[in-house]
């Protein structure tokens, strides 16, 4: 009963109500955590349902935060739920996080992950970290007051486009369940003050070989936020730190040009002489594709450059435009000066040009 009372008196902020956030919200509510905060600005999409189990088909198009609140209330009506239907940004992050005991990182991008880390270091709160990629996951508890932080582990993010997101690269739908449930376990332990948490350890999970590994992490004395002489003493511009420059900030910094789907459709109608390059994976080609495209998966383009006619205008596409942007950039660097990225990918095509095309 004593432990249950501690949970009832405890509060947890879940940042991101997606694949990780779904089991987190449901299990922490079922466990009897007194107060839960949910941060998510997004709405439920049909493609989320294979992993975001807090939602069902009737929630498609609805706010994730609102839908999650209903799911939680159905499980445990005694949980006090606070919704933040907004992006977690440097402007609101400290204010949102300061009223919670434990912060959970269930976000889906590097910029927000560095933001969550710095917020936790600055506020002196534990950050229950979980991240997933296709079949693999990582979990840790970052608590700079007694161990390393996320920046001690990964000082710098990879360049944009190198590590595809779940929506881009696909992910085993069960994977965020495994990782989210471990995060929930760590959050409960932190509230109870019991057991040995993952502070100073990184747990690695690989679903295809079904293996768990554990690594010891060291605090980096030169860490810019939690080291001996920190240079980050307040929140910074995380998009800039991660090399992302949104269109509202003046467009892409990279050398390649972008073309929208209507322009591509009119080139096809005019039978213009250009090369359409599909850099998705074979399983994606089976779902849908554009006519007469040359198909080379992103990972093979480098080895199969001779299949791309350098004398032609090359238009690269993928599902959403992220992978193809990286390839357009690579092609421009490799001498294909006229490589362009089809903005929004085949999803934009399905939305704007061909509504009968299956989307995924």
């Amino acid at each position: 009963m004593q432990g249950q009372q501690k949970l009832k008196d405890g509060s947890v902020l879940i940042i991101g109500a997606g694949g990780l956030g779904s089991p987190l919200g449901m299990y922490l509510a079922a466990a009897g955590v007194g107060r839960l905060g949910l941060v998510d600005f997004d709405i439920v999409d049909v493609s989320d349902l294979q992993r975001q189990i807090a939602y069902g088909t009737s929630d498609i198009g609805r706010s994730k935060a609102q839908s999650m609140k209903e799911t939680i209330q159905e499980i445990n009506p005694h949980v006090d739920i606070e919704l933040f239907e907004t992006r977690f940004t440097r402007d609101n992050a400290l204010e949102i996080a300061e009223n919670f005991d434990v912060i959970i990182d269930g976000t889906d991008n590097f910029a927000t992950r560095y933001l969550v880390n710095d917020v936790c270091v600055l506020l002196g709160k534990p950050n229950v970290y979980g991240a997933i990629f296709r079949f693999d996951g990582q979990v840790s508890v970052f608590d700079a007051s007694r161990g390393p932080c996320y920046r001690c582990l990964f000082a710098e993010p990879p360049p944009p486009g190198v590590a595809p997101s779940c929506a881009e690269g696909g992910v085993l739908g069960i994977l965020p369940g495994v990782i989210g449930v471990i995060q929930a376990t760590e959050a409960v332990k932190l509230l109870l003050g019991q057991g040995k948490t993952l502070v100073g350890r990184l747990l690695l999970y690989q679903a295809l070989s079904m293996s768990f590994r554990e690594l010891k992490l060291q605090k980096n004395p030169d860490c810019p936020v939690c080291g001996e002489n920190p240079t980050i003493t307040k929140l910074i511009d995380y998009e800039e730190f991660c090399g992302i420059l949104g269109e509202e900030n003046g467009g892409s910094q990279t050398g390649y040009k972008e073309i929208d789907v209507t322009a591509v459709a009119s080139l096809i109608d005019k039978e213009a002489d250009f090369l359409l390059l599909d850099v998705r994976e074979p399983v994606e080609w089976e779902i849908c594709s554009l006519p007469n495209s040359v198909r080379i998966p992103k990972g093979e383009v480098r080895d199969r450059l001779e299949e791309i006619d350098i004398t032609k205008d090359v238009i690269v596409y993928c599902r959403s435009g992220v992978r193809s942007g990286a390839i357009a950039n690579f092609l421009c660097d490799a001498g294909f000066d006229r490589a362009q990225n089809m903005r929004g990918g085949i999803r934009a095509w399905a939305n704007e040009i061909d509504p009968t095309m299956p989307v995924y």
Partner: protein, 83 residues
């Protein structure tokens, strides 16, 4: 030497685990990465952003000057952000 590739490094290299025989002139982590990169374009691509990848030898994070031996276990861990 047993090598494990995690997440997108695995996708780029094309396998999760492999066993290699360490050449005599490869004695530290930096040399190991250079040697692996020369094994083919997939490896070269995988290690293109080596500065963001963590190298773990026998369950401990190491730097590029860390000595390696044939009976070591090495894991390459990149940052991932999915959720």
């Amino acid at each position: 030497m047993k090598i494990n590739y995690f997440a997108w490094i695995k996708d780029k290299v094309g396998c999760e685990e492999e066993e290699i025989t360490l050449p005599a002139d490869v004695t530290n982590v930096g040399q190991l990465i250079n040697w692996l990169s020369r094994r083919g374009p997939r490896y070269d691509d995988a290690f293109e952003f080596i500065e963001v990848i963590k190298v773990v030898v026998n369950q401990t994070y190491v730097m590029n000057d860390q000595p390696v031996k044939d009976d070591d276990e090495v894991i390459f861990i990149p940052p991932i952000a999915g959720g």
